[in-house]
Symmetry: D2
């Protein structure tokens, strides 16, 4: 060791002692040329997920304390943390016949999407919201919510939240509510829909929190009709769909036209049989769930066949595309509002994507 | 005349000569304590309007040049000008069997509302939009539009525009389009609805002019359902309606949640039989049309019984309320976006209103 | 007269009787191909204006009732109304030694611009604001304000307001305040400046009315420095100025970056000797005042030599340009916020302008 | 082990195998009642920092690859990562006489604040910006920037960035520029200031990226004057300061009035001798640097005397206040824009804070 090397070693030891850390030795890791997520692209098969949730239904009670029988996707690149991506949480939640998940509220924004089944009501700030196949149900930050299952059958669905992001940024609050749900009625339509699910119409008694959608349920029949219309219009020679054979809608806040949650964007895509989507890569991460059909996801260098219920995680800046074997219906959610509201979108999505 | 009076007289003559005008002699007229509109409250009876429109249908052809068989409300206080209020235009338009109103476009924002009948299509930037009872149809500024009537029956409706405002502010442009409409097909649903009339869903291929609603038709079945839901919720003990027995919706741009047109707000109100609304007065003017039912408008000191089709003009700052004999359905439009976007709303609407 | 003509004549009489007016007979006037303002381009010479104001100072007292010794430009095309354009008011105001213009407030937005002199304080919601040559002073809607002149000399300045617009739209309120001003101190700097006239710095105790600038005075030394910097940068080969030899700034609300008043835009332009500006025409009207220098305005077909203090009115859609004999400094204000906030700008400003 | 326990153990093993993780075993950690940051409150003494930076100046060259001689605060609670808080980076940067830090650009937003010294120019997108004591200098995301020191003396300052946040969210891009700076001139004033540092004035040639301030330098003389004015106004009985003896300004984007960077808020506070600030706690983290004076920070349960140059890190939801021995000037920066733009602010700042 030269004298200089020795002095440097002392300097670095003094840095550590003083809780300091030099930039120059770690620049490449901290500030790479493009995002290099620790999260990895991964597919969770519904055929594996659902039986485990069912088994948890037998073995693990649901109630105050644990609060929810939710089993989270733990991205293999994130060291066992229950995070689908650094910002997004995705879990399968399972509720047996006559079970109740108690009420609570938290800063974290949440939604549920139902790939199969029905029979559970989620009660959001006192409003009972039926959950049925294909529906997106919202629970925005700080709304009380609990679930109960008056049907004779178990039901499972996916939960999407910003738990990792809120955890990382130290911005989360949590409060317990009643152990039972506050309203056990089982109307087919929530009060939020009765007020807000009329296209292009807003109640004159206005909703004032512009960051939170006043609509708690986005029903499958509307999503399906909107996608069908885009493809029909395309067949008739009119604009509307994204690209040939590829339709898409964004779930939106009817009071603002913006995203349904302050940190989470939700979309639904339909890809016709035989169509391969345009390769793209985005700043920010995304989760897809197959709602119907079969196909193949290309995620960077690897290919993944997918079927109904499968969950696909696409980390930031991963090039990807999907090919539909038969007509493929895909629900998706992403952290795009975080990226866009903070000016971090470089707008390079499609150009940069190259796939084998 | 004193020397001073004489000098003053000379001064005022010099002012006039130099195209000058003193403030101090006319302050009260120019800047009153509260708005004192030259426009007066007035009611036009549908029973008088419709036969005149019908007669015009016999006598006046529709076509290039005159462009539209539209007969405007001329507020009795505005000296014969064809203006319902200083900012708003309201007219009955009449189209006979097989007639065509040629295509044109203009800066002025327009809508049509159908109090009765059906059978006409308005073609907006090439998109054929069926017109049916209870529908609100939009033609935002600078969109080409024409109307044609393939049905065997005449049809009449009301047009609402910002012609007086655009005229006064010297901001209007006008361009002729084809004498025939560009698409004579008669689909029940416009392409704009197929893309945008799904509650809480936006196409991923986005609409970029945020001032203009991408939705050309707001259908009666949705308006009716939204109003009914508010009153039902009220009966069940939940919020949603405006006041007891009074429900209301605002027509809104699904891409932003804002008003349907940059200068015009449109609403629909339902007042239950026996209910009298809260007196109010607003900065800015408004026009009501009775869609269903009977009742009485109090407009300042006077009372006006109304029935289906009647048009009621409420100038700025006029105290008013309505009482429903049987259930009263009211379409309305106003210049509220002008007032609000320019910071001219004093927020005194309800407090200041006193009625006999 | 044929039978049809006779029936038509009857119909038109019935229309008039029923307060109705047909569109087809007046379409061209109401909806011209491009704005055809009744207002005309016109120049008021300061050399004529100022002596008349001085004479009014001798003959007309200022005080409660008349409120202000303000003499308005009455556009020759507007039938004697005291309106510079359909939306804008411009007046010369004159205050003699030791005179006071009493306090009042109104919905109308106002500013003052000082082409010459000093010695008056305007007191805005209790904050005394010194008025000096080259300054822009704001009195936004509903702020109490009065003026007093503790100097031994008379002072004159121009007032700009949206009186015609507020009058036309029936949106104005007016309230008297104290006959004397509430604070007769004469500080060189207003409290609003002490809080807000620091570039890029906002007080942490925030100002909440985002439509109204919290800054009551825009001082000449800043305007002059900003214009000089743009031309210097241009000489050094850097961007910043508008076009060769033409610099311009917009007065802005430091809390939002937007216009200083909800309905009025204010700018200042500097044109170097020998430079002719690019011809342009705008949707909306504008008033210029020469602050320094001499030159020529081309307004449509006519040419107008101008010198210090002269006021130039440019109605909507009038093609115009200015040529500087010696360096020309121009203050201007316009109704651009009305046009832009209501989506009425067609963006054709420069392209459409043709001058002899 | 019972049969159930054994089945559960199998289930959890299956979860791990399938990259799944149950919520119910870790809810309290993931979703605490209030933020419980791993970051800890900590104070770095300038008297320790500066000599280490000086020593690094002797031992570590600056140049391409390492890019910057920056030594970051590594929060003792964050396991050695070079992060002041989970979202914010703070470092001392040191540049010796005649040294150059090469040009590069990155998505990360950066600023520099100068607690002492002068003589370095930072060149931002080709615009040379002098760095002097008390100045805040901006380098928004994706602007090329390098530094050079033509003075004969070394200079140190602090860098603030959103490196941890951008790293965590996988949103960062980085690109090398020239090894030398592109403009080695040393003007006292940057071109950005010549265009934008005029209070309430914007160039007519507009700046279009509304998320990025067009002003690269916020000079000490303005900050000092703004703070002095607030305290003077307070002495005169007028509003403006935060609380008795406590003045504060926010650095803002003159084109919008918003924060200077999309992810970082910067402020400056002045606390008079003998004053103790109101205790508060915020959602989101913050870093303070003492610019002048001495005092004591209460951070939760502990007390920390501070002097010029000391850096204080306040993690999310830590109750804190500061007491000034002599007049205390404090620069601060925080992640408040992240919290506010994503709707995560609970608005409980002051109420919840309790200190011994």
């Amino acid at each position: 060791m030269t004298a200089t090397e020795s002095r440097l070693e002392h300097l670095y030891a003094d840095f550590a002692e003083a809780h300091l850390s030099p930039l120059w030795t770690q620049l490449g890791d901290l500030m790479p040329a493009a995002p290099t997520s620790q999260a990895v692209p991964h597919v969770w098969k519904w055929s594996a997920l659902y039986p485990l949730a069912e088994l948890a239904g037998d073995l693990v009670p649901v109630g105050r304390g644990g609060e929810r029988r939710a089993i989270a996707l733990a991205n293999p690149g994130l060291g066992g943390l229950p995070f689908a991506t650094p910002t997004l949480w995705a879990a399968i939640q399972y509720l047996g016949p006559d079970e109740t998940a108690p009420e609570h509220r938290h800063s974290q924004n949440a939604f549920r999407f139902v790939v199969d089944g029905e029979g559970v009501w989620t009660v959001v700030d006192g409003d009972p919201v039926a959950m049925r196949r294909g529906d997106l149900l919202l629970t925005a930050g700080w709304q009380f919510h609990g679930h109960h299952n008056p049907s004779g059958r178990p039901m499972a669905w996916i939960d999407g939240l910003d738990i990792p992001f809120v955890h990382y940024t130290d911005t989360g609050f949590f409060e317990f509510g009643p152990a039972a749900v506050t309203d056990r009625t089982t109307p087919p339509t929530s009060r939020s829909e009765r007020l807000w699910a009329h296209p292009g119409l807003s109640p004159l008694v206005r909703h004032h929190d512009t960051m939170t959608s006043p609509l708690a349920a986005y029903r499958w029949e509307h999503t399906d009709a909107a996608l069908r219309a885009q493809l029909d219009l395309q067949d008739e020679g009119h604009p509307g769909a994204l690209t040939p054979g590829h339709a898409g809608v964004r779930y939106s806040n009817p009071a603002t036209g913006g995203d349904v949650l302050p940190t989470i964007r939700a979309e639904f895509h339909r890809v016709r049989a035989g169509i391969q989507t345009t390769p793209r890569r985005d700043v920010g991460s995304c989760v897809y769930q197959v709602f119907n059909g079969t196909g193949t996801f290309d995620l960077g260098e690897t290919q993944h066949p997918v079927a109904k219920g499968d969950l696909v995680v696409v980390p930031s800046w991963t090039p990807w595309r999907v090919s539909a074997d038969d007509e493929l219906d895909l629900f998706s959610f992403s952290d795009a509002p975080i990226v866009e509201r903070l000016g971090l979108n470089r707008g390079l999505a499609v150009q940069g994507a190259q796939l084998p």
